[in-house]
Amino acid sequence: MKLAVVDWLFIGWYLVLSIAIGLYYSKRAGKSISEYFLSGRSLPWWLLGTSMVATSFSSDTPLAVTGIVVKDGVAGNWLWWNFMLGGALTVLFFAHLWRRAEVVTEVEFIAIRYSGRPARFLRGFKALYLGIPVSCITFGWVTLAMVRIIQTVFGTSGVAALAICLGLTIFYTTLSGLWGVVATDMLLFGVAMAGSIILSVVSVEKAGGIGALVDAVKAAGAATGKDYLSVIPPLGRALPLAFFIAVFVQWWAVYYPGAEPGGGGWSAQRMLAAKDPRHAVKGTLWFTVANYVIRPWPWILTALAAIVVFPGLTGAAPGEMEAAYPRMIGFLPKGLAGIIIASLFAAFMSTIESIVNLSGSFLLNDFYRPFIKKDASEKHYVAVSRVLVLIISLLGAGFSYVLGSVKMGWQLVMELSAGIGLVLLLRWYWWRVNAWSEIAALGASAVTAITLKLVPDNPVVRGLGRTLERAGFAVDAWGVKILLIVAVTTVAWMAATFLTKPDDEAKLLAFYRKVRPGGAWGPIAKLNGRSYKLQAAPFAGWALAVVMIFFLLFGLGRIIFRDWGPGAAYLAAGGLAAFGLSRIIAKMDWEGQ
């Protein structure tokens, strides 16, 4: 595909605007570590929530959703929709606690919650693990995906443009810190969404309009035996184990970057940067709604149109299914193509800038400052942060060249921490969890995942598979593996918790007074002389948030497919749930006084 001059003009103009916004904040970011990594803890809810959703909207996300829809239909999205249950949990139970904790990073939480040498080890280990391999692999994966998109659209000639875009992103991110990241994220998310909406409209037109699209997709489904439009997977006589795990296990057990149980990574960084706990809650709610309700439908429409426009796509290789998304760009008229390319650059840039800023925060705040140079000036730490961000960017760019092994490494990172979610949730609400609990969970999850990778077919896996089949499940290898990792990890960390001493009372008391979490803090609450209660309102709020998001998501889908009656009913139900939730959020005491 060859772009016209106007397309390049729009792309160039968009890049100039993004960089100008980023650089505008560089002076402000240079004042202190709090400004550089947390925007001086002054972000309003709309800015931090939009920044979260911009970060999780990567250039490869539309391609992944396209691949899912072409392979398994709309219902295949349960693979990631299930994380909404965990997202709603973070909104109601954890966002305000993160803000009250007033740490600089997710990893620093360890220093205020646990005591002794195990806590020091855990903090240093997590800082290096999340700051270097996990960040570099994520950076490499996102960059590679973007290279593939560019090559699909332009051939090799577009890679130079991508390299320029990457260099400029790193340049302004290094200088402007989180201020530049969140400010540009606002614009990047807008451009990314605009691009995906325009592409979906052109794609539907190419498929003959929405009515013809629905008929053609139904016909394609009749030929392959699949219902591509259904939002519920085919349940048949046996319940698919993968669907059961998605709905009942994955969202609280699996540590997935961007959907960490209880919040973590870039989402925790933005909650910590909020003006106050209420803004953290509202921002995280906005992220959850934007992420699960607003983002998916343009991609789903483009994917369904691709099934119609490219006959034989449903039987193609996974890579070819995903490549259908950038191939649709070829149908765009002059002028609009530049907007779509800019939108893909926007999705790419918003993820990259957040990854490098976050990894810099781990390496500076949780490794360099506590273990290498303790009492330096803020100016010194900001300078070191900039150097670290630059180093991580160069390492990540280098990783992009290690093609096949990056994918393997990414899958391994996911599997290594597949069972640690429960300990991350309970550490806020149960005084007895200590550093050994987390170390045991990380160790058990990693050891089980590696064992199952080396010996995937063993008596335990076969036995569990047979038991699940007898219980009425349609069993798949991935589901059995996840269940085993979660079970072993849970037993291991619970055993470690009870076999080791509780943390120092002084440390626990200081945490309890500062964060005011409620829950199972009996002995510490007694020491405090005052007990903070876990109220009923967040439980009701969580249920309402889940109902709201599902009804709005599915209602929007019904309206798009011109199923007006049910669509309006779903949206009304979602609206009612939203009203109830807004009352709860307005009335709750998020400061916990």
Binding site: V6, S18, L187, G190, G335
Partner: protein
């Protein structure tokens, strides 16, 4: 940030008028352009 939104919204609207081939495309692009302009105005107002 507000200037950034206007900076994208204005050319987007112009491109919508000049290059779109169908009414649906034109309406979509113009609607998106107006969203950019409104968000830019809201950000500008919030900053003041």
């Amino acid at each position: 940030m507000a200037l950034g939104f206007w900076g994208v919204g204005l050319p987007l609207g112009l491109f919508g008028i000049l290059f779109c081939e169908t009414t649906a495309q034109r309406l979509t692009v113009l609607a998106l352009a107006s969203v950019f302009l409104v968000v830019g105005a809201l950000i500008g107002k919030a900053k003041r």
